[in-house]
Structure formats: structure tokens, C-alpha cells
């Protein structure tokens, strides 16, 4: 039995703001389920003596001193923006969500 249902995929698509047709959902829920199940196999291999790992390289505490470095100029910061106005990024109206 697949660990991933079609409804899960529809929900993830909605959260990720991806518009999917019924056909997309059918196709992708099958494909994604295969991936999820493959990853689940890895979990079976890990015994109790293997701690959960989020970072494969054994490093920690790589910090930076609190010293100001130059920022981008405003024009440079906005150069890649589809639209800009008054030195700010201009984005489409935000509907159905809060400020």
C-alpha cells in the first residue's frame, strides 16, 4: 500500500501554489508514492544505534563575527525583480491571506 494518497498530493500542490489538473494528480501520486516508499526503505535499514542525521558533515559552530559588510545598491537589489516601484519590489495583490 502506498504511503502517499492522492489527497496528500493535492494538498501539497495547494500548499506549494502549484495548479494541478486531475490528470497531473493521478500521474504524480503514483510517481511520488514510489519515491516516498523508496526513501522509507532507507529508514528500515537504520538500526537503533544509528542516530537521526540532519547534517552529514561533522561540523558545528561555524559562526561569523558581527561585522557589517557592504550590501547591494538598491538598483542592483531590484535589478532581477519583474517589477519595482519606489525602491521596492512590486508584487501582485495578495488576496485571501492576512498581512
Amino acid at each position: 500500500m502506498s504511503s502517499l494518497e492522492r489527497s496528500d498530493v493535492a494538498r501539497l500542490a495547494a500548499l506549494a501554489r502549484i495548479d494541478m489538473s486531475d490528470g497531473d494528480l493521478d500521474r504524480l501520486s503514483g510517481q511520488l508514492a514510489v519515491i516516498v516508499d523508496a526513501v522509507a526503505k532507507v529508514a528500515e535499514v537504520a538500526g537503533e544505534d544509528v542516530p537521526a542525521t540532519s547534517h552529514p558533515i561533522p561540523l558545528s559552530n561555524i559562526h561569523r563575527a558581527d561585522v557589517v559588510r557592504p550590501s547591494l545598491a538598491q538598483e542592483a537589489a531590484l535589478a532581477g525583480a519583474p517589477e519595482a516601484e519606489d525602491g521596492r519590489f512590486r508584487v501582485p495583490q495578495i488576496l485571501g491571506e492576512d498581512a
Binding site: 494538498r11 500548499l15 506549494a16 501554489r17 540532519s54 547534517h55 558533515i57 561540523l59 558545528s60 559552530n61 561555524i62 559562526h63 561569523r64 563575527a65 558581527d66 561585522v67 557589517v68 559588510r69 557592504p70 550590501s71 547591494l72 545598491a73 538598491q74 537589489a77 531590484l78 532581477g80 516601484e85 519606489d86 525602491g87 521596492r88 519590489f89 512590486r90 508584487v91 501582485p92 495583490q93 495578495i94 485571501g96 491571506e97 492576512d98 498581512a99
Partner: protein
């Protein structure tokens, strides 16, 4: 049931609340990049590939922000995790350009503490702290078109200067048992956090600029019957009111939510678990997005940042740098200064404690220091629309001014003029007294001449005084003060008048 009062609501229901406070740190740079962390710059001039979330950029943790977070955690009695990590909180909203905020989730740096909060009448409430974790602030959206709010806006403009500014979020456990004092406890809790971050000097603590912000969770449950255990009654559904950004607003928001939820419950309607927005102008809240849909942030460990593993030695070293707890410091100063509860509360609310302390340190008596800062200077600051510490006068100036009064060089009235001069940038009190010629006239011959002149102008006064109406001397004292432009020693003038009348003073 409409028209319920707050008191009536709390007679029927028991409130449980929790608070999330976001503290903006005053580090020189942002949390994960070297852009300046400074309020008020031109939009998008304190941004770089890291805080804009451009592809290929890599964040690096600000050491000073970690230090500040640990010091704050220690001040809240928290344990410091030996290994903590960052996580991505995923959501789509233009205030985060990466489509995720870097935060901490399952391994916050500081966890399980407690904070004693002292209410105005001295009662102490202990608030359990669940966690204090590091995260980054979001950018600022400006909605254009319509009425400036999000509804009806045609588009929005985004400034990412604030994006990536270091924050510590402090989360309480549910706070029970406060009953009718719920709003007071909430306010005092946030005020205490503000005082602590200022004492630690890790944030400017200015709520009006958003450097300390609060979200208030509140739920109501039925009051337990007499003799039964209130804590055995399950919690009700809670609302979370976002961005309650002043101490007064925290009290008002709790009043509003208590009444709103009680009215729903009494009408047999459910309270919806949701985010609500606080409206300062109407003193009310309105629903935001519903929790179940929006709160799926799909947290996962941030792969671009390494774990934070503060050594025990470093943590203990930082513990050694903690300032005295503000509540303890207040109690100590109140005692040492002999202030009343009201004096102390007013000084705290005016943010004048350290100014008064520095003035006392500079040699003034506590009551005199208080009188200047809470009187003349508070009025001036109020008139100018600035805070006390923005006034161009130092505690040393105030101490010097009071020394001149104590030495009899100037009287209170002249001291106020001298202070005016100091505030106008004319120099120290001593310099202003010299340059404006404000010294009290205590030369008897000059005063005697002035008294004689005044007596000659009001010949009936002498007879009245001799008839026993000693208060009539006041008219002459007034005339002499006027003639000397306030620079006469009023006590000495009175003595001279009484001597002229041949009456014992």
C-alpha cells in the same frame, strides 16, 4: 448574550493564556549575513544575495546573535541545549523572498525556564517558559490602493531591509489561575521581558518601533464548581491575536477576547481556533486565515546551516555577564532611595530609573533626582514629543543643578531657568547660571534697598504687619522678587521685612 462586561465574563469563565514575544536583537548585522541591522534606512539598501534568498547564496550564523539568545535564555531560567539546529518554516508570502523563514523547530537553543513577574501590588506570578528560539525577521509589505489595508489593495510593495534581522521568539507554557487578573499578568509579563532585554542590552526594547512584539493566545473554560479543581477542567478552543504591540494594547486585546469568546460560549456557539488581527483604533480583533489550512509549515532541518553547539564553558561565561534581574534591581533601588510605590511605578513607566540612578551616582539626593526627571524634564520631553533620554541634558547636569540649589546659589525658580538654558544648549548648569546672571541676590544691602522701595510703594503694608497680619508681608516679598527678576532669596527678604516692621519672624 451581547453587552457582557469583562467582569461578568470572568465570573462565568476561567481564562488560560499564552504569549509569544518576538524580540528584535540590536546586533550590528543580520542573523545570517553581514547586512546592517538598522531601522529607518532607504528601502532595499540593506540587502544582499543571502537575505534576498538569491540562488546559490549561503547563510552563516551571526555569533553575537547566538550569544544574545543564550543570555536571554539564561535570564529566563532556561536550559541551553547542547546541540540545537535551524529549520525551514515554509510558507508563501511576499515578506519572505525565499518562501521559507529560517527558524528553529524541534531543537530550540533555549528551553524550559520560568520567569517571576511582579504585579503592581507586589504579587508575584511565575510564568513557565516553554522555549526561546532564534529566527529571522521578515520584510515589510506596503499595500497600495484601496484604504492602505490588504483588502482592496491593487498591489503590494516589499522592502527587505528588515528581512533577516535576528529575532528571539519566547514562548510561554499556558498560564492558568490568573482569573480576573489575566490582563494585568499578561501586560506585566511582556513589560518584564522588555525590561530584561533592555537590561541585557540585546535589544532596544522599543515596542512602538516593533522591536518587541507580542502574539496573545487566549481560551476560556467553564469555572469549576466550588470545591472542585479548576485545573482539571479541559482548556477551551483558543484564538491567537497577532501583533499586539504595546503594553496597553495587550490588556485591551485580552479584555476584548475574553468578552468576545464568553459571548459566543454563552450563546451556545463554538470558539473557532484561529489567528485574529488586533485593531488598535477599534480595540477589537477580526479573524485572519484559519489555522488548519495555513499552519502547515512543513518544517525540516535547514541544510545550509550547521548545528549550534555552545560549549558549557561559554554558557557559564555568559551566565556571568547577566545583569541583575530588573524586578530585584527595582526592589533594591526603591528601598535605597526611599521611594513610594507610586514614585517607583511612575519612574519605571517613564523609563527614568537608570537616569535617576545615574543622577544619584553623580551626587544628587534620590528625591531631588526624581523631582527633576519626573517633573520639569518629563514635561519638556512630553512637549517636545521625545523620550527623556533624547533630551540634551545629562544626569551629571541634573546633579550639578541640584548642587547649585542646595548651596543656595540659585533657588528653585532660577534653577528652572538654568535648566532651560541647558536644554537650549547653552552649556552646563554652572555655565548657564554665570552667563545668564542667575545667581540669587543674597547681598543684604541690595535686598534692603529693594524692600524699602517696595514698602514705600505700599505704605499700608507695614501697619498691617504690625497689627499681626504677618501674611501681608507676602505682597512685599512678591514685589521684591519681581524687582530682582526672581533672583532674591525669598526667605531672607521676608526676614528683612519683618525686621523693618519690628516683628519677630
Amino acid at each position: 448574550m451581547a453587552g457582557l462586561t469583562y467582569e461578568q465574563a470572568l465570573e462565568r469563565f476561567d481564562p488560560v493564556f499564552g504569549i509569544e514575544v518576538h524580540v528584535e536583537l540590536n546586533t550590528a548585522t543580520k542573523m545570517f549575513c553581514g547586512c546592517a541591522n538598522q531601522f529607518g534606512a532607504e528601502p532595499n539598501t540593506q540587502v544582499c544575495p543571502v537575505c534576498l534568498g538569491l540562488p546559490g547564496s549561503m547563510p552563516v550564523v551571526n555569533q553575537k546573535a547566538v550569544e544574545s539568545a543564550i543570555r536571554l535564555g539564561l535570564s529566563l531560567g532556561c536550559s541551553i541545549r547542547e546541540s540545537s539546529r535551524f529549520a525551514r518554516k515554509n510558507y508563501f508570502y511576499p515578506d519572505v523572498s525565499k518562501n521559507y523563514q529560517i527558524s528553529q523547530y524541534d531543537e530550540p537553543t533555549c528551553f524550559e525556564g520560568s520567569l517571576d513577574v511582579v504585579l503592581d501590588d507586589g504579587e508575584v506570578v511565575t510564568v513557565g517558559i516553554e522555549r526561546a528560539h532564534m529566527e529571522e525577521d521578515a520584510g515589510k509589505n506596503t499595500h497600495v490602493g484601496g484604504t492602505g489595508g490588504i483588502q482592496g489593495a491593487s498591489h503590494s510593495l516589499v522592502d527587505y531591509n528588515r528581512g533577516g534581522v535576528p529575532l528571539v521568539e519566547i514562548v510561554t507554557h499556558p498560564i492558568e489561575g490568573t482569573a480576573e487578573r489575566v490582563a494585568e499578568v499578561a501586560r506585566a509579563y511582556v513589560a518584564t521581558i522588555r525590561d530584561i532585554v533592555k537590561a541585557l542590552d540585546i535589544s532596544d526594547g522599543r515596542m512602538e518601533q516593533g522591536s518587541v512584539r507580542a502574539d496573545v493566545n487566549l481560551s476560556l473554560r467553564p469555572k469549576a464548581a466550588a470545591g472542585e479543581d479548576q485545573s482539571a477542567v479541559p482548556f477551551g478552543k483558543r484564538s491567537e491575536t497577532k501583533n499586539v504591540n504595546s503594553l496597553r494594547a495587550i490588556e485591551r486585546a485580552i479584555h476584548h477576547e475574553v468578552v468576545r469568546q464568553a459571548e459566543l460560549l454563552l450563546a451556545g456557539q463554538p470558539v473557532v481556533q484561529e489567528t485574529r488581527h488586533w485593531h488598535e483604533d477599534t480595540g477589537s480583533t477580526t479573524p485572519g486565515r484559519s489555522k488548519e489550512q495555513a499552519e502547515d509549515y512543513r518544517y525540516f532541518p535547514e541544510p545550509d546551516l550547521l548545528p549550534v553547539e555552545p560549549s558549557r564553558e561559554w554558557v557559564e561565561e555568559l551566565r556571568g555577564t547577566l545583569p541583575e534581574h530588573p524586578a530585584k534591581m527595582r526592589a533594591r533601588l526603591k528601598d535605597a532611595w526611599g521611594f513610594s510605590d507610586t514614585d517607583m511605578r511612575d519612574a519605571v513607566n517613564a523609563d527614568a530609573l537608570d537616569l535617576i540612578a545615574a543622577t544619584v551616582e553623580a551626587g544628587a539626593k534620590p528625591q531631588a533626582a526624581r523631582k527633576w526627571w519626573m517633573g520639569e524634564l518629563a514635561r519638556t520631553a512630553n512637549d517636545r514629543g521625545v523620550t527623556l533620554r533624547d533630551l540634551p541634558v545629562t544626569p551629571a547636569d541634573v546633579a550639578e543643578l541640584q548642587q547649585l540649589v542646595d548651596a543656595g546659589t540659585i533657588n528653585d525658580k532660577l534653577a528652572r531657568q538654568a535648566l532651560e538654558g541647558v536644554l537650549a544648549g547653552e552649556g552646563s548648569p554652572r555655565e548657564v547660571v554665570a552667563s545668564r546672571g542667575l545667581e540669587v541676590v543674597s547681598d543684604d544691602s541690595a535686598l534692603e534697598a529693594a524692600v524699602d522701595e517696595a514698602l514705600a510703594a505700599q505704605p499700608d503694608v507695614l501697619a498691617k504687619i504690625q497689627d499681626g497680619k504677618v501674611q501681608a508681608a507676602g505682597a512685599i516679598v512678591g514685589a521684591v522678587m519681581k524687582a530682582t527678576r526672581g533672583q532674591a532669596d525669598a526667605g531672607r527678604v521676608r526676614e528683612i521685612i519683618l525686621a523693618r516692621a519690628g516683628v519677630e519672624g
